[in-house]
Structure formats: C-alpha cells, structure tokens
C-alpha cells in the first residue's frame, strides 16, 4: 500500500476542495457542488483501496481460470460498495436540488447568509 500514497494524497486534496466549496461559498448551488465533490472523492478513495498494480478486471470467461484470476485481478468488493454509495449520492442530490428550488420560491434569494429566520 505504501506505493500508492501519492494517489491517496491526490484523493484527499479533492475532498479538501469539496470541503472548501462547502464552507467558503455562500451560494446554495455552490455548496451543493461542494458536497457532491466530497462524496465522489470518498468513492474514488474506496476504489483505490482495492487497486493492484498491472491488475486485470475481475471478470471470468472461458479463457481465464479461477486461480489466475485470484492472483492478478483487482479487488471486486470495493466496486460493489461504491455502486451502492453512488446510488445513495444520487438520491441525496435529488433531495438537495428540490429543496434549493423550494427555498428560492419562499425566500427569493440563493444567498445562504440571508436565510436565517431561525436564530437564538
């Protein structure tokens, strides 16, 4: 795992960009883009955990035996986990977009610092 440290650092930089967009921007749509970037950075990290150098895809057909597949293929379990996580991200994004539209109808602004009727 030590040879992939540069890949992991780049993934964490992507997540840092997502966190920056969530915290520092005031427009609601930019905050939503920050959250989506953060989620996809974690999905990318999870796939990279299962990577193997010069690996082949974990699909078995008639030309590859099971033992050779176990020795050379990349890990298929993180790919299944990430598929589920992408679908969850899609559901969250749909809910966020609908809430953003409804907020604009009620408050007439996309600026998050003006949406603060609940205080104290």
């Amino acid at each position: 795992m030590i040879e992939y440290v540069s890949l992991y650092i780049l993934t964490m930089a992507l997540m840092g960009m997502g966190i920056y967009a969530l915290i520092a921007k005031r427009h609601i749509i930019k905050k939503i883009i920050g959250i989506v970037t953060m989620e996809y950075a974690i999905n990318l990290f999870l796939i990279l955990v299962g990577y193997r150098t010069d690996g082949i895809a974990p699909i078995q057909d008639s030309q590859i035996s099971a033992a050779e597949l176990a020795a050379r293929a990349v890990d298929p379990l993180p790919q299944a986990l990430v598929l589920t996580s992408i679908v969850i991200g899609l559901g969250t994004l749909a809910l966020m977009a609908s809430l953003a539209i409804k907020l604009y109808e009620k408050y007439k602004t996309f600026d998050m610092s003006e949406i603060n009727r609940l205080r104290g």
Binding site: A57, I59, Q60, D61, S62, L83, V87, A94, A97, S98, I101, Y104, E105
Partner: protein, 156 residues
C-alpha cells in the same frame, strides 16, 4: 400528429436538425439500455446503469420535442406507478426466498455460469431495479423541470 409533423412544427422544442437526429437515435438508446440490463450478470453494468440509460432516452425526448410530447408518451401518473411496481417486485423476490428457507435465497436453478440464463434470480432483480430507477429518474426530471418552474412576479 405524427412524429414527422411534430418535427416540422417549429414552435415545439428545438430546431429540426435536433429533432431529426433524436428521432433516429432514441430507439437505439433504449435497445442499448436493455442489452446492459439483460447481460448484467455476465458483463459490467446491471440494473442501475441500464435504468439510467433508459431514463436518459426519455429525457432526450423531452429536451428535443418539448414537455408536452414527452408527458403524452410517459405521463406523471405512469412514472410513479412503474416506480412502485419495480420496488414492489424487488421486495417480493426477497420474500419469495422464504419459500426456500431464507430471506433472499437464490431459489431458481443456477445454471452454468457464462450463459444468458444463469445465476438464479439475479436477472429478474436486475430488470425490476432497472424499471424502478428509470421511472424514478424520469419522475425527478419532470418534477424539477415541468413542475418546478419558479413563478416570478411578472408571470403572476
């Protein structure tokens, strides 16, 4: 109105070039989506990816021909109905595993791996997930574009 007259009608949707190409391509998109769904247990893809591709075909129809034509072909009521049917089919498959003794047990004959008809109930699960995801994504798109139009002060 036939689809050719809808293409020539300049008040609906986009220009005639877009409408002609969309007419030719939409059927092939749906066919490609069905291929990804049915071969989901042999090649990469499966229920979710195939469902998204089928939803995209209807979104292309709405973008190029306008909202009214797309809602005429696949209306709001049927989108939510197919959504419920797909999800219910998946839960029923899970409960039917109880007949073999366990929840979600693979109770259909497995067959030899590598054929189209193999893998137990996995192709059926792929098809039901694809129906649900396709209908749900189309319903989200309708909800955000046709019903989500922000009514400004001038239009009131």
């Amino acid at each position: 109105m036939s689809i050719k007259e809808l293409s020539r009608d300049d008040s609906l949707g986009m220009t005639i070039i877009v409408k002609t190409i969309a007419r030719l391509v939409i059927s092939f998109i749906i066919l490609f989506g069905c291929y990804i769904i049915l071969y989901g247990h042999i090649t990469p893809g499966g229920g979710f990816a195939g469902g998204v591709i089928i939803a995209i075909a209807y979104v292309l129809l709405m973008l190029s021909f306008g909202g009214k034509v797309a809602m005429g072909k696949f209306s709001n009521f049927w989108a939510s109905m197919w959504d419920n049917i797909g999800a219910l089919a998946f839960v029923v498959i899970g409960f039917l595993g109880l007949t073999g003794g366990y929840f979600f047990l693979n109770f259909i004959n497995h067959g030899t791996p590598g054929n189209l008809i193999s893998g137990g109930f996995i192709p059926l699960a792929n098809i039901s997930i694809a129906i649900k995801v396709g209908a749900a994504l189309y319903a989200i798109f309708i909800g955000l574009s046709v019903y989500g139009r922000i009514i400004t002060e001038e239009e009131k």
